[in-house]
Symmetry: C2
Amino acid sequence: MKPSRRPTAHDVAALAGVSQSAVSRAFTPGASISRRARLLVQQAAETLGYRPNLIARSLITRRSGTIGIAIGYMDNQFYPAMLDAMCAGFAAAGYRVLLFTPGPGGDPDPILDEVLRYQVEAVVLASARLTSHFAEQCSQARVPVVLFNRRTERATVSSITGRNREGAAEIARFLIDGGHLRFAYVAGLEDSSTSRDRERGFVDTLRQAGLTPATRVVGHYDFALAREAARTLFSAPSPPDAIFCANDHTAFAVMQTAQAEFGLRVGTDISVVGFDDVPLAAWPAFDLTTYAQPIRPMAERVVAATLAHLADPLCPPIQEQVDGSLIVRGSARLPPRRHS
Amino acid sequence: MKPSRRPTAHDVAALAGVSQSAVSRAFTPGASISRRARLLVQQAAETLGYRPNLIARSLITRRSGTIGIAIGYMDNQFYPAMLDAMCAGFAAAGYRVLLFTPGPGGDPDPILDEVLRYQVEAVVLASARLTSHFAEQCSQARVPVVLFNRRTERATVSSITGRNREGAAEIARFLIDGGHLRFAYVAGLEDSSTSRDRERGFVDTLRQAGLTPATRVVGHYDFALAREAARTLFSAPSPPDAIFCANDHTAFAVMQTAQAEFGLRVGTDISVVGFDDVPLAAWPAFDLTTYAQPIRPMAERVVAATLAHLADPLCPPIQEQVDGSLIVRGSARLPPRRHS
DNA sequence: TTGAAAGCGCTAACAG
DNA sequence: CTGTTAGCGCTTTCAA
């Protein structure tokens, strides 16, 4: 017994009494090989516990079959759910996922370099940090980039987002119809396109309705900071009665602070609305009114866009917005019923 | 301009006027190369945008630098948090993470095969499905396996778990001291070692105290199913006053069902205790008493165990239990204060 | 310190 | 359908 090395195609070939190329062919779906030869190889492979080395294959085919996914915010349920869905989508398309989580603090650049060295065929960026520079480096290396839930100003890179402006505008109208008067927006990260787009849709709609502009605080998409922002809001001389939060995760922080620290009844004393419709939003404890960004469809679009770039390197940037919809639950006062 | 191919070490060598081996050496930390040569190479690499191909390197070094992580339950906050921590840990150790999420339903075996073909150096299993058979296949292929948060009966494979028995026993004592009388356990998956161990610690402690055995329902670690189980519990003629749930995720389902559907005040009318101490448990809306499984330390132990196997292929299985602690919050009635 | 040469395990022409 | 022959891009002896 030769215990040290894993069996190679040569070993299998020797045992099966065929050439090494025959072994290769036996493991290649469309290859031309006789049933007999394939059987011989399969048996030999079985007894040896042979498994084709995909690394060696990648080297020659120049396709690693690997997609890099950068994802942050694992405490915001939206991202793990998305990761799960994307992973499944890529797996179904025959790709493996190399995960990298650019932790808080520290320069994310070295990790990018690492990933590119590993010959990922494309990169999906789902983290607000490291978006622009990172994306640039990738496209310089001719590695397609797909941004998820964020975009860049320059239309040079692909992105899949929700309908941030439209969704926020719909929320504004919903709150206006609900008879609210003092609005507030809890922003995410200042340099996040997503937070800015949502703010814009919200603020513009209020302005068009001739209402008092919304108070603005910043939660940085962080639970603790969002709670801090909520305290600022509720401690003000004239606190808001309608709060739109940059995402559900932020909304949870705001709701709980309102209830636990200010004794406010959410949905009655004040209205809180989020964005995303993560599974938690439907939990009885939250019952959050929010604008749904559908996980599965978005994941599918990300996968599709990535595959499009892989299929055609000259494919122009794809910028898609996936439709969402307002999910009305109990965290915001309802507009009066209209006759239909 | 030759746009099609990415630059290789040869291209860099040609431009720098050195041999291709020199290029290799310039990118190998400990290699013997003159400052001059290294500089030449670095400049040439810079202008060409050269990045060493790690796939090619793996082929010759026989080390892919990649760890496979199988993880499920992305809706249970414990797992994304753990994934994040493990990813960071492996990255710090110079390893990349290949993620695979064995979705619900379907045979997980083909995906395993896929992963092994990709030459991962080790596999971390953090999903209850695919544990035993999968682990066997891996060790047959001489790929070290580390189970996370689960173990197998046979002590042949490494595992990192929390103190399930002890933690559950401590919870039982806490509830007994709190003066509860009618206990219940909401189990996870029936074939999960974790759920069984927790149940055992809980049940044994009750028995030793001479108390009525706990009612037992099954939540399968699933939110909806756990709610269903909770309904069964609360609809019984003599409903429990102390419920221990297999994990926090299950506890959230139980708490909310108690409140929303049965009008029970958690922490007053009934006590609910979980296991894990996920970030959500500390949210005001839940304020869940639970037994903490510390994410960071557990992740560190997983990484350490994996590296130990990598460093020494003959390393015997490592079975570690990471200490936890009871986190007392408001979801369970407190034992009466004692004089200290 | 350096370059030449020999592969890592596999795929992909190319003849037979 | 099959075996032979070149490599994929890199690391690693081995002499020089």
